[in-house]
Each structure stands twice: as C-alpha cells, then as structure tokens.
C-alpha cells in the first residue's frame, strides 16, 4: 500500500517542478492568470486521465496501452518543439495565447500519467482488497508532493524569470522536464527516448530496404551489391540514434541561436561612454542569463540520451556459476559445454570458487582464433571502494570485455596476456572438452593479486 503513497508523491513532485517553472516565469501581475490557467488545465488533465484509468469499464474499453504511450510521446515532443514554433513567430505570443499554452501544458503534462496512476491505484486496491485505503494514500502522496509548491507560493509570487526565460526557452525547458519525468515507471516501462529511437530504427531500416529494392540493388547473402556496406550502416541503430540526437538538439540549438544572434545595442555617440559600456554590459549579461536554461537543457538531454543508449546496449554480465573440483580437490574442472550453453557461442562465462570465506571469480571466453581465454575477474590496477564492489570485474559488450570500474574495453584476442587493464591470466589446460586448472596455482595468483598495491581509488 505504501507504493500508492510513493507513486502519488513522486508524480506530484515531478509535476510540481514543471508547475514551478511555469509560475516563476510571468511577472507578478500576470501570475494569477497563469496560475488559473495551469490549475484548470491540470485539473482537467488529471480528472480525465485518472477516470480513464480508474473506472474499469472505461479502462477496458480504451485499453490500448501502445496508443496511449504514442499519444504521450507525441504530446511531449509537441511541447518540446513548441519553443521552435514560437521562435519562428514574428511577434511575441499574446497574453491570451500564453494562457492557452499554459492550460495545454498543464493538461498534457498530467493527462497520460494520470491514466496510468488511475489504473495502478484501482489495481492495487483490488489486489489488496481495500479499495478505499489505496486511493486515500495516493491522495496523501499527491498532497505531499504538491505541498512545497503551495507553501512557497508567496515567495514564488515575488520572483519572475523573464530575464532568464523567453517563451520559447520556457516551453523547451518544460519539454525537457517532461522527457525526463514523463511516464509512470511502475506502469509503463517504456522510456520516451527509447521509443523514439526504436521508431526511427524501424523507419530507417524499412526505408533503406525499400530504397535498395527501388534502385534494384537489394543486398544478397553472398553476392556483392553496390553500396551494401554504406546502406547497411545507414539502416542500423547508429543512424537511428543520430536521428534521435538531431531531433532532440534542434530546439536548444534554435534557442541558443536566438539568444546569441542579437547584436549589441547601438547607442548614440553623444551618450557618455561609461553609460554606453554599462548598457552593453547589461545587454550581454542578459544574453548570459538566457543561455543558462539552454545549457541546462543540453546537459539534461545529453544525460537522457546516454541513459537511453545504455538501456539499449546493455553490458552482458552472467551470474558466476560454482565451479566443480576434481575428486582429489587439486584441480578445477570446467566443461566447455554445459546446461548454460557452449562456450563456443562467444558469450562470456563466469565461475566462482569458494576459497574459505572468499569468492574467487573466474572468467572464460572463446577468442576469435578459436582458443580459450581464462582469467581472474580482476585486473592489476582497478580497486573499487568497499561500497562499490559491484564495479569489480568485467562484462561483455560485443567482441570486447569492458572493465566495469574504468570502462576500458579489452579486446577478446588479448585475453591470457597480462598487464594493464587486462584480466589476470590463469594457467589452464584443455582436455576432452574441459578446462582443467591447478587449484594451487590459481590460489597463489589470487593471493598475490590481493596483496598488490592497486591504484584507482577515486570511487
């Protein structure tokens, strides 16, 4: 049940950030009008969304989660790009247009997430047999999340950020916040950026394939085709990622150009030089202030793109399997093929040997030349702190091992070669499709490694 409280608190707090930005922007006289528009937009968005998620008949009738997700992504990108549209306008938007925009942002920011919240609240209440406590806790969470905004209203009313935000930069910043906080993770595991990248990937791969058919140069399994390498690259996930980056960077770049393209004010020669310099300095300070939210948006977007990239290209790290010893306990025997598969599939394998209270983790992988690489899951250099033990060892990404601590890629052909960031090699033999390791040799190497004065204590 506490989850309902946590969801309400988290979503309300995320919305409060967007609301705060919207309410800090206008001058004091206009704040009430903004607050009113935001309030009605939020109320309508929340009510409609929550009802569609909470009431079972409506929820079932409009249950196409994919459609709701696409609508959410589209709304987020629309708000994000609204700034570009505003920049293209010849005149500043009127107060009425601004209020309509604020109403729309309030509606869109909450409508789709409210549907997810409504569904979750109903579902949790039904599962726990308590249809009243869960919504009540959820409401408490909402109040707690919005509480700081309400409590600080008097202070907020005195601040206006029109020196820092222009209407286009404000909408762009709200779009960035929606990208970062959109979606209810407990309901919808989908991330906006991953969905966009997958959409682009589908488009480019189908588009390139259609182009190849159109030009009568369809690729073949073993017959060379013109431009197959280039077109194959263009139809891959790197192109999709590039398109996504371009899509996300256009609004901040537009905003930056808008901020920096204005020339210094031209003042009459008769003006006192000191006053002239003061006015120019004030003008340039204004440009600097306006660039702050744009650069902040850049940093947040870079982080979001990086996180999306990591999600789509995760490191592969298997769970270490206990290793079998020989009957006389002098050797370790590791089969090349077992219930986990055949080591010849090219995937990294990890094994664990219990030496007293310590765990000696070993890695094995097949190298491109067909030989086996067999090493300790540690190197000579990196020494993560006690609280960061998960960073010890290697994971696999493609045909490289990656040190989880320093992220150095280690090419598979270099396994069994000591030094640098390479894992410590362990002597072994291959006999009848099994890796045979002398336990005493392995322990000796392990002990030497533990006594080594390693560097790398930054984390």
């Amino acid at each position: 049940m506490e989850i309902a409280l946590a969801i309400g608190l988290k979503e309300a707090f995320q919305f409060a950030l967007i609301a705060l930005l919207l309410l800090l922007y206008p001058v004091e006289d206009e704040k009430r009008g903004y607050l009113k528009s935001l309030f009605w937009g939020t109320l309508l968005g929340f009510s409609i969304g929550f009802v569609f998620g909470y009431i079972p008949s409506l929820s079932k009738r409009f249950s196409d989660n994919e459609l709701w997700s696409v609508l959410r992504y589209t709304a987020t990108i629309a708000v994000f790009y609204l700034g570009v549209a505003i920049s293209a306008l010849k005149h500043e938007p009127t107060i009425r247009a601004q209020r309509v925009a604020v109403f729309s942002v309030g509606f869109l920011a909450l409508c789709f997430d409210s549907r997810a919240m409504g569904f979750l609240v109903y579902d949790m209440g039904a599962m726990q047999g308590n249809p009243y406590a869960v919504p009540a806790l959820f409401a408490v969470g909402i109040c707690l999340g919005l509480g700081p905004l309400v409590l600080l209203w008097k202070q907020i009313a005195k601040i206006d950020l029109q020196d820092v935000f222009s209407p286009s930069v404000l909408t762009m910043s709200i779009g960035v916040l929606m990208l970062a906080t959109g979606g209810v993770k407990e309901f919808d595991k989908g991330d906006t950026l991953i969905a966009i990248e997958r959409g682009f990937l589908g488009f480019v791969s189908s588009g390139v394939s259609a182009l190849q058919t159109l030009l009568i140069i369809k690729p073949h399994e073993f017959i060379s085709t013109p431009m197959s390498g280039l077109l194959g690259y263009l139809s891959g996930d790197r192109s999709a990622m590039s398109l996504m980056v371009i899509l996300l960077m256009i609004p901040p770049v537009f905003a930056l150009i808008e901020a920096f393209s204005k020339h210094d004010p031209v003042l009459e020669d008769s003006a006192v030089s000191a006053q002239k310099r003061l006015k120019i300095a004030f003008f340039r300070k204004g440009i600097f202030l306006r660039s702050i939210p744009i650069m902040t948006a850049f940093i947040i977007l870079v982080y979001l793109i990086h996180a999306a990239n990591i999600s789509m290209n995760p490191l592969y790290e298997p769970v270490p399997m206990p290793v079998k010893e020989s009957d006389d306990k002098t050797k370790l025997i590791i089969p090349l093929a077992d219930s986990m598969g055949d080591i010849r599939d090219g995937k990294l394998r990890k094994y664990v040997y219990y030496y007293g209270s310590k765990q000696v983790v070993l890695i094995a992988a097949m190298k491109p030349d067909g030989t086996i690489g067999f090493c300790l899951d540690e190197c000579e250099i990196c020494r993560p702190a006690e609280w960061n033990k998960d960073a010890i060892g290697y994971a696999q990404k493609g045909d490289h091992l990656i040190c989880k601590y320093c992220m150095t890629p280690i090419a598979l052909p270099t396994l069994n070669s000591p030094g640098g960031c390479n894992p410590i090699p362990i002597p072994f033999k291959i006999k009848e499709n099994e890796i045979i390791v002398e336990t005493s040799e392995m322990i000796e190497i392990y002990k030497k490694l533990q006594n080594l004065d390693k560097k790398g204590t930054h984390l």
Binding site: A88, I216, F222, S224, P226, R344, D369
Partner: protein, 423 residues
C-alpha cells in the same frame, strides 16, 4: 490576394506543415503490421496522401522560384525597403557627395545597381544555388518515385546458358553466365565468409549484346536487368528399385554448408544436397573446411519415401557415379545457373538522377557557411540620406562591422546620427 496566396504557397512554414503531416501519417500507420509499407501506400494510393505528397512538391517548386527570384531580381530601393533591413542609418543632411558614396557602394562588388538617388551592392546573390539543387533533387526524386510506384513491373527468373525468355515484350537470350568461384575456399568455424564479387551474364536482345552483372542494373531494351543469385545446375540420373529418374536439379547450396532439399513427385522421394569439403583440418576448438567450388563434391541424401522411409547418403564426386543401399546416382555435366531480375520501370533513371542531385545539393550546402547574401543599399532624396545593411547569416557580426565602418563608407565625421534603435 494572389500575392498572399503565392506567399503562403511558397513559404517554409507550409513546407514544415506538409512534412509534419507526413510524419503524423507515419505515426498513425506505426500501429499496423508493416508501418512503412502502409505509409507509402497511403502516400501513393490514397487521395489524402496525394494531396500531401503533391502539395509538398508544389510547395518546394514555388520555394525554388521564390528564392531565385528574390535573390536575383534587382531591389527596389526606397526608404521603406531600407527600413526593413537588418540595420540602417538615417542621416538628415542636405549636402552629401552621393556620387562618391554610390561609387564606394559599387566598389563593394557583387550585383550592383546605381542611379540618381540610390545605389545598392548585393554579394552572394547566387548563393541560393546549393539549396536550389537540393530542392530540385527532392522534387525530381519524389515525382519519379510516384511514377515508379504506379508503373513498375518486376520479375525474377532462373537463367541458364542458352535459355530464351520474354521480358516486357522482348525476347532475351542468355548467351553465357560467368562466376569467379574459388577452387579452394576455406571456411573456418561454422559461419561461412563466402562472397562472390564478380558475377556476370551475357545476354542478347533486339540484336544487341549486353553484359549484365551484379553491380548496378543495366538497361537492355525496355527493361533493367541485374544478376541476383547464383547456384549450380546438376543433371542427375537416380536409379532405385529397378526404376530410374532423370532430372536437372537447380541447387541452392551456396554458401558452402547450406543444404538444398528437393521433394520429387515420385512416391514422395526427397533428395537433399550439400557441398562436401575436400579437406578438413582442426585447430584448437575450430574446424577448417576446404571446398572446391569450381568442381564441387556433393553429399546427396536420398529418402525414398513410402513405407520404407530410409535415407541413403552418397558422396558424389565430379564426373563419378555413386551407389549405396540400392540407390545409384549418375551425374551429368555440372553448370551454374543464376537468377536474373528484370524490372520494367520508366522512372528508374530519374530516381537515380534525383538521388544524385540530392547528394550534390546536400554536399554543396556546406558552402553556405561562407557563401551567403550580404547587401548594402543607400537612398538619398536631397534631404535625408538612408543607408541600410543586411546579411543572410552572422548578421550580428555584420551589423557590428557596418557600424564600425559606416563613417568610412559615407565619408562622414563622427557626428549626430539617428540610428535604428537596438532591439
């Protein structure tokens, strides 16, 4: 009214609106099984799709005209024109050597205009060309794409030397097929790294000979041709249970390791073929296999079907018969066959041309970083001298440069100027 319609129809905003509509249509069709195919079907076969598609083409065409016209037509220098520029000076002065100012403006170069009372210098007037190339490429490509969608007719046929076939009403005779297959192809591990770079077929049609290969499609007669696949043709005589079967098998057994299975009409008989390596070596955990692809040895599996259902395996060496468990196979002369793709598409050349224009236009757009329009214009009515400046890009620095050099341009001393208020 016509002017405002023309202005809207040739505006960048309308172009973005059309592109947004296309993007919106793609998002709509992203829920279908094959989104891209559904989207292209909408654009090319649906009336609303046509409206968006041809609307965009018309818009791009008008943008081409407008940008060329705006850049090349001589400016109408009036006070109103100068006030709309990026920066201007308005100097109330009754005595000014306008001829020397006009001369200085003309010396700035570019497309110059000067007459009594006004002068103008416009550099980079032709800088619209890279954009024009790009837009023209897109227009040509889109038009050709539409025509191709509605007229294209393609089919694929297995070809062997000496064969004759009909394509788009023309008789085509296959004179020869030539593929450079290696005599000793080494495959390491389970995955074959087999590639054929050079595959060609000599065909004759309408009294002319053409060499069709695996590279770009070649036009022969009214259609385009390209060799798209390669395999072996093996005539076999299969003897079993006092019966005999003769058949030419088209074997799809490349790359080496691939099995081709043929179901025969005779009592459900199934015959499988795979190329047998001439030599096998092992190193570590890997196995290397060597194949002679010019004169391959086949492993043939024959399942006689029926109640018996047993499979007999035979190794068929070049030119030699094989016999095992009551099944005998005698090969004929091995040859290669290919698959030829024949496409009738009157718009294919324009598609290629459009793509080349797009690539050239896109590459030449890099020049726009330093090739752009800059204009200085002056107007003097006997009482007020107006001098204006505008620059297509980097106007912030251009305006600063203009104000820093205005006195030199106008031959003025630093005095009271009434200037365009800063924003």
């Amino acid at each position: 009214m016509m002017k405002s319609i023309y202005g809207i129809a040739s505006s960048w905003r309308l172009m973005f609106l059309f592109m947004l509509s296309m993007a919106g249509a793609y998002i709509y069709y992203s829920f279908s099984k094959e989104p891209f195919e559904a989207w292209t079907k909408f654009l090319f076969d649906d009336k609303l799709g046509w409206a968006i598609y041809f609307g965009l083409i018309l818009n791009l065409t008008l943008i081409c005209f407008r940008s060329a016209f705006d850049k090349l037509s001589p400016p109408n220098i009036t006070p109103g024109y100068i006030k709309k520029m990026d920066a201007y000076l308005s100097i109330p002065i009754d005595k000014v050597d306008f001829d020397s100012i006009s001369e200085k403006i003309v010396k700035l170069g570019g497309r110059t205009t000067s007459a009594i009372g006004y002068a103008s210098s416009r550099r980079g007037a032709w800088s619209f060309l890279p954009g024009l190339l790009l837009r023209l490429g897109v227009i040509v490509f889109m038009m050709a794409l539409f025509v191709s969608h509605h007229t294209r007719n393609s089919h694929e046929a297995v070809i062997r030397p000496g064969m004759e076939l009909t394509s788009a009403g023309s008789n085509v005779r296959i004179e020869s097929i030539d593929a450079r297959l290696p005599k000793d192809f080494l495959q390491v591990g389970e995955v074959a790294d087999f590639n054929v770079d050079d595959l060609k077929s000599v065909v004759s049609t309408d009294g002319k000979r053409y060499v069709i290969d695996n590279r770009y499609p070649k036009m022969a007669g009214a259609s385009y041709y390209r060799v798209a696949h390669l395999g072996y043709t093996l005539p076999l005589k299969i003897e079993f249970d006092k019966s005999e079967l003769r058949k030419d098998f088209d074997l799809d057994v490349l790359p080496p390791g691939k099995t081709d299975t043929h179901k025969l009409v005779v009592e459900g008989m199934v015959v499988s073929f795979v190329i047998e390596p001439t030599r096998t070596t092992e190193k570590g955990l890997l196995t290397g296999k060597e194949f002679d692809l010019t004169n391959p040895t086949f492993r043939v599996s024959v399942n006689k079907g029926g109640e018996d259902g047993k499979t007999v395996q035979l190794i068929l060496k070049p030119g030699e018969s094989a016999f095992s468990n009551g099944v005998g196979i005698t090969p004929g002369t091995l040859s290669i066959h290919a698959k030829m793709l024949a496409v009738f598409d009157p718009a294919l050349r324009m598609i290629y041309f459009g793509l080349i224009l797009i690539l050239v236009g896109a590459a030449s757009m890099i020049s726009r970083f330093f090739w752009y329009e800059a204009e200085v214009s002056a107007f003097f009515d006997g009482r007020v001298l107006m001098v204006g400046f505008k620059e297509e890009y980097y106007s912030k620095w251009g305006v600063k440069r203009f104000y820093n050099t205005k006195n030199e341009l106008l031959g003025l001393e630093a005095s009271v100027d009434k200037e365009k208020p800063s924003e």
